[in-house]
Amino acid sequence: MDEKTLIARRVALELKEGDLVNLGIGLPTLVAAFVPKDADIFFQSENGIIGMLALPEEGLETEDLTDAGGSPIGALAGAATFDSAMSFGLIRGGHLDLTVLGGLQVDQKGRLANWMIPGRMVPGMGGAMDLVSGAKRVIVAMTHTAKGKSKIVRQCALPVTSVRPVSLIVTEMAVIEPTAQGLVLRELAPGVTVAAVQQATEAELIIPEHVPDMPVVEPPPRPADCPSTQRYGCA
């Protein structure tokens, strides 16, 4: 199993029955593929929909219905659409149960940086700052290191997305929880040792006496006509 799939399968366990969930672009969108299709979970997209679903089949696209990346989608029975003010009212107003976002760095205090690299990459924050400020839970799904350098650092060198600490960090090596005392190592990926995580982590980690193995969801049986590239589940 590649590292991104492992991360997505672990994050999928955090989605609970009845949750309203916003998945960020990139790795986080993989999570939807591992959520059981009858799980009663609603995906919100910040461009104005609750109840997004993968396009059931090619040829059913409408130019008026896309995800936040502009790709055609379908919609669940019971979906609702709305304008951008309501979309962000849902996010900021505490109506969104969970957001899963990618990350460039997370620091000792649990602060996420994921919206710019000064002088090199300035895509803009899009909805990320509102999501981190407003969602009830924020999970960062990212690889533990980039080009050999730890992405979990003492202090973010990159501009932070919010000063609010995230709820959980899930990487291909570990699950780490930011707390008032610091970053606590909660779980280890299969075959990964505490020492290996510490070596790959610049920030200081609090190591409980017992650190269990990371559980992951089993990949759901996939209908033959639902390619793995389909996001937000199949109809």
Binding site: D64, G70, D83, G134
Partner: protein, 220 residues
């Protein structure tokens, strides 16, 4: 009261240097004919307020390609390398605003508010030069309203007098911008007789729409 206007006449009303709010999210809900005509007429030094600049050759990306824009207030330019290139080269000024804050600043402009207080951006680069207010022990940024000279809207349906209804995710910023601009131009996929859009289904009331872009007769 009839509001229909020919596309070229509508765009001719826009002077160089005007500020324009443009609906849409990655070009979904962006009026294609108004964009193309703006490029054709070669307007200069436009100040654009919009969620994003889509991609090169697509939606607002066409205005960027044609170098018609001197400043843009937006939440995201990551999908358009040309906008980023022009920004790094100093050819275009880009003011990045968190997406929810952008929506609320436009809403405040249209709803007659002096601004909005949001927790988004506190403690980040976004708070620079902004007033921070503590309300019940929590820090909020004062974000000021946005208004514009013109708005370009895209609706699924317009009736003859300019009542608008939007479809699915193409609604996004359109109804907010309808309230916040001095002169509002609406392009619709379909123009229908008055009454086809029932009062409950009207999302932007006709009084907000100054010009409804007429359809071009299809030949053949």
């Amino acid at each position: 009261m009839r509001k229909t206007i020919k596309l070229a006449e509508a765009v001719a009303r826009i002077p160089d240097g005007a500020s324009i709010m443009i609906g849409g999210f990655m070009a979904v809900g962006t009026p294609p004919r108004l964009i193309d005509e703006t490029v054709r007429q070669g307007k200069k030094d436009l100040i654009i307020i919009a969620n994003d600049t889509a991609r090169p050759g697509v939606g607002i990306g066409k205005l960027i390609d044609a170098k018609l824009v001197s400043k843009i207030i937006t939440s995201h330019i990551g999908t358009n390398p040309e906008t980023q290139r022009q920004m790094l080269a100093g050819e275009i000024e880009v003011e990045l605003v968190p997406q929810g804050t952008l929506a609320e600043r436009i809403r405040a402009g249209g709803y007659g508010l002096g601004g909005v207080l949001t927790p988004t951006g506190t403690g980040t680069l976004v708070e620079d030069n902004k007033q921070i207010l503590e309300i019940d022990g929590r820090a909020f940024l004062l974000e000021k309203p946005l208004k514009a000279d013109f708005a370009y809207l895209y609706a699924k349906q317009a009736d003859y007098i300019g009542n608008l209804a939007y479809a699915l995710t193409s609604r996004n910023f359109n109804p907010l911008m309808a309230m916040a601009a001095q002169e509002v131009m609406a392009e619709a996929q379909d123009i229908v007789p008055v009454g086809v859009i029932s009062p409950d289904a009207v999302m932007t009331p006709a009084v907000l729409v100054d010009h409804l872009i007429s359809k071009e007769r299809r030949r053949g």
